[in-house]
């Protein structure tokens, strides 16, 4: 059954366990919430681009197939899952990212019937030549829509600048050409490979009991055979592929992303917490760099930053709009080197750490945020809420060490989209 863990700061109890079917289940009861959010996810995203062959080798599958599979799973022989959710009133959706595919719903009523639908439709793939062809039209339009997004072009140009071979370089939805190669047979093979319950998790947050979720799993899940996933090929060098990329689009002003490629490392909770504090110290509103960039009119209030990572990749990302993106990169690199040289100021560290703690707790209001955070931690191989706990153990010295190891100014690339 499930194990309970009460978080000392939040006071909430989270339940977790491995169901006999192989599925990992998390339940975060939020008795005072109005809605319940459930997400059923597999560790299969756009970076997982190969399938094993019977001969023991591997073959590369068409770009965008994980995302295509996500669309197609909503369809069954008797109709689509949206129609079934319509009867319960749940708001259903799905998404595919670099490292996962997730199916979800949010509901204030009929939660258990909606959970049954979720667990059922994800386990019953149904693909035919005709339905695959129809979906190629819809996804083709989604791809065209994304092609008009400067943010997307900026990001993927940056990833192609940072990475030589890693599949994180490839568009999540693929291209109109690559999805034309997708067949029902390929979809079934990918499904059977990656949608094994041992590679999946169910996270439910809201006014639910762990028993009711477990019972739904008992009703709807059959034990899956133990899984041997193909190891990802990680022969990516630590150097960047290209220090600068540029594209032209109908935009109002130059847009940029500066990215630092992190040397490969197994991410621990301490690293996840460290990234949040480091980003604020480097470029947050209270940092000298932010003041300098604003005063010199090098950024505006759209400036943002984040750290993201997955199997074999880790990127520190800073982006916004600037007439001089190269100058922003230069000042950012100088700020990194200054902190590396001089160390981290203890008073600034304490203030920022307290702020990060407060923001992390504040974000855990709605069930969707609670569930997605637990899913994040599971996908990253961390214990639930481990980064929140790791904040307390951070020190300025430890953070300085992280900064020196994880951000190196010679592993930097700049992606710019300029107006026509």
């Amino acid at each position: 059954m499930m194990q309970a863990f009460t978080h000392p700061l939040l006071g909430d109890t989270i339940y977790t366990g491995e169901h006999p079917s192989g599925l990992t289940i998390f339940v975060w009861p939020r008795p005072t919430a109005r809605s319940t959010y459930a997400v059923f996810a597999t560790r299969y995203g756009s970076v997982h681009n190969s399938l094993p062959t019977p001969e023991g080798g591997s073959e590369t599958v068409p770009a965008g197939i994980a995302h295509f599979l996500e669309h197609k799973l909503f369809e069954s022989e008797d109709g689509d899952a949206f129609a079934r959710f319509a009867n319960t009133g749940a708001s259903a959706n799905a998404y595919t990212s670099f490292d996962r595919t997730a199916y979800l719903f949010q509901a204030t009523e009929n939660v258990l019937p909606s959970l049954d639908i979720l667990l059922d439709f994800v386990q019953h793939p149904y693909f035919t030549e005709e339905t695959v062809q129809k979906e190629q039209g819809i996804i083709g339009q989604e791809i065209r829509m994304c092609e008009d997004s400067p943010g997307r072009l900026l990001l993927f140009n940056l990833l192609r600048g940072l990475y030589h071979t890693h599949s994180v370089r490839v568009e999540i939805a693929g291209t109109v050409e690559s999805i034309a190669d997708i067949t029902p047979d390929l979809l079934y093979r990918c499904y059977n490979q990656y949608y094994n319950l041992h590679n999946m998790a169910l996270v439910v947050a809201g006014p639910v009991t762990p028993e009711s979720v477990w019972e739904a799993a008992d009703r709807l899940l059959k034990p899956a055979a133990p899984l041997a996933l193909p190891a990802m090929r990680l022969d990516e060098p630590d150097t960047v592929c290209c220090a600068y990329t540029e594209a032209v689009m109908p935009v109002s002003a130059p847009l940029f992303y500066v990215g630092f490629k992190e040397p490969q490392r197994a991410l621990a909770a301490q690293d996840a917490a460290g990234a949040l504090v480091l980003l604020e110290l480097l470029a947050g509103d209270s940092s000298p760099l932010y003041t300098q960039l604003m005063q010199q009119a090098l950024i505006n209030d759209q400036f943002s930053y984040e750290y993201f990572n997955g199997p074999g990749y880790g990127i520190w990302l800073f982006g916004g709009e600037s007439a001089e993106p190269e100058r922003v990169r230069q000042l950012l690199c100088e700020r990194v080197e200054e902190l590396q040289q001089n160390g981290i100021d203890a008073a600034a560290f304490e203030a920022v750490r307290r702020g990060v703690y407060g923001r992390l707790v504040s974000e855990l209001e709605e069930p969707s945020a609670c569930a997605e955070l637990l899913l994040d931690h599971w996908v990253s191989g961390m214990q639930p809420l481990a980064p929140l706990d790791a904040l307390a153990a951070l020190t300025p010295e430890g953070l300085h060490k992280q900064l020196c190891e994880r951000i190196q100014t010679h592993r930097c690339s700049l992606s710019v989209v300029r107006p026509e």
Binding site: R34, A86, I138, P250, T291, M294, N300, G355, G358, S362
Partner: protein, 425 residues
């Protein structure tokens, strides 16, 4: 959900949501002034100017550091359009005492900080310092110019301008590049004075049981004003239907089609609930007729969605399509409207659209920010419905009401943004 409305002195209202089931407390001031082309920019520059620093914390870095010390308390400020009003929002959100490391009550510090931003800005001889002002003006101008970066939103704005060239619908609450360029620090300071002395003001306080200290602090600040009288506006919604069309070309991969419909149902009409349900059934939820027929059955697009502006009586149906499919999409959108007018939809489809709306609005009750967005729209008419009361009203809408709302819906304006060098449609 418990909701108390309190009348405060000097024409102000406090909406008090005392429940303490959240991890954060949220206090917000909602300031509404008539939306007019000539002074929209002067008001729009204020949220950024007032929340970047204040007299007590005279640099952005000092203010940000203080917010970090207050457990990452978050100040949000923004401007948007609600019907004929330009609405400025200033809020502060902070951890409840129970979640701070040393069980500290942040309420007094945080509300003082919020009021200080509004009443004690870092002025020099009663005007905003030139450097602050120029920085904020630049940010606002760049935000305005950047509207073209998001082609879907850009196309919707163009259609709104076609729909209501003479009314507030076409006025950008951020101003225009020209009016922002022409703005001076003196005008911005004068706009702040006018905002405090003439705006309709509603305060929202969530997560605090006793609001007496907050109301006293608000009273003390406003008592210092020489004059205050809240402005009022006459409803002025035009229902004439024209047939405007505009096509622009741009270097894009996919055309954006926006169909602007006039709906002769606006707030505070009782039939607004029926129009909402009609819009949800038509194209406002994943089980909608447009989703099913235009996307799923005909594979014409990835999105084809309808959204209802209940203040202006407008539905926008927008879609990203290949240019050659534009006539097919237009035809299908109109065909589905006709179907609703004639009652050609199943009970299951209607109930699904209704359930979706009810669950959507009830879910907003799960965060202080969601509840704020839910209630701010209701401040326009001071007519408050809790999500549960909303559900009750929505359940009372009949099939006939929905058909009638569709019969009151007529195509007015069509905007198409299409890739360059394509054959005219």
């Amino acid at each position: 959900m418990e909701l108390h409305t309190l009348s405060l002195p000097q024409d102000m209202t406090l909406l008090h949501l005392p429940e303490q089931r959240f991890r954060t407390v949220r206090v917000t001031g909602v300031f509404a002034v008539p939306l007019r082309q000539e002074d929209a920019a002067a008001y729009a520059v204020l949220p950024g100017l007032l929340t970047r620093r204040c007299r007590r914390l005279p640099t952005t870095a000092a203010l940000s550091r203080r917010l970090e010390e207050l457990y990452g308390a978050s100040v949000e400020a923004g401007v948007n359009r609600l019907g004929q009003w330009q609405v400025l929002r200033f809020s502060i959100s902070f951890l409840c005492k129970a979640y701070t490391l040393n069980k500290e009550d942040l309420t007094e510090d945080c509300t003082r900080l919020l009021l200080g931003m509004l009443f004690d800005p870092a002025l020099e001889e009663d005007v905003f310092p030139q450097t602050d002002f120029e920085q904020e003006k630049r940010c606002l101008l760049e935000r305005l110019q950047a509207e073209i970066n998001d082609k879907r939103r850009y196309a919707c704005h163009q259609c709104e301008a076609l729909l209501g060239p003479e009314d507030a619908l076409s006025v950008n609450p951020l101003g225009t590049p020209q009016t922002v360029e022409a703005l001076t620090p003196v005008e911005a300071a004068a706009a702040r004075e006018r905002l405090l002395s003439t705006a309709r003001i509603h305060w929202l306080c969530q997560g605090v049981e006793d609001v007496s200290a907050l109301t006293q602090a608000i009273h003390n600040r406003f008592a210092g004003l020489a004059f205050r009288k809240a402005v009022s506006l006459q409803a002025d919604v035009a229902f004439t239907v024209k047939e405007s069309q505009r096509t622009d070309e741009m270097d894009v991969q996919q055309a954006k089609l926006v169909l602007g419909y006039r709906v002769a149902v606006t707030e505070p009409d009782d039939q607004v609930m029926a129009a909402r349900l009609m819009c949800s059934l038509w194209g406002g939820c994943p089980s909608s007729l447009l989703f099913r027929h235009v996307r799923e059955e005909q594979s014409l697009c990835y999105y084809c969605a309808a959204s209802y502006d209940r203040f202006h009586g407008v539905v926008l149906v927008d879609s990203g399509v290949q240019t050659e499919n534009v006539p097919l999409v237009k035809q299908e959108v109109q065909r589905q409207l006709e179907a609703i007018r004639h009652g050609e939809f199943s009970d299951e489809e209607l109930e699904a659209a209704r359930l979706y709306l009810i669950q959507h609005f009830t879910s907003l009750d799960d965060t202080p920010a969601g509840r704020e967005s839910y209630y701010v729209g209701q401040t326009v008419y001071d007519n408050y419905l809790t999500p549960d009361a909303f559900a009750g009203r929505m359940l009372a809408v009949t099939r006939e009401d929905v058909c009638r709302a569709a019969q009151l819906t007529h195509l007015d304006s069509t905007y198409l943004l299409r890739p360059v060098e394509e054959v005219s449609v």
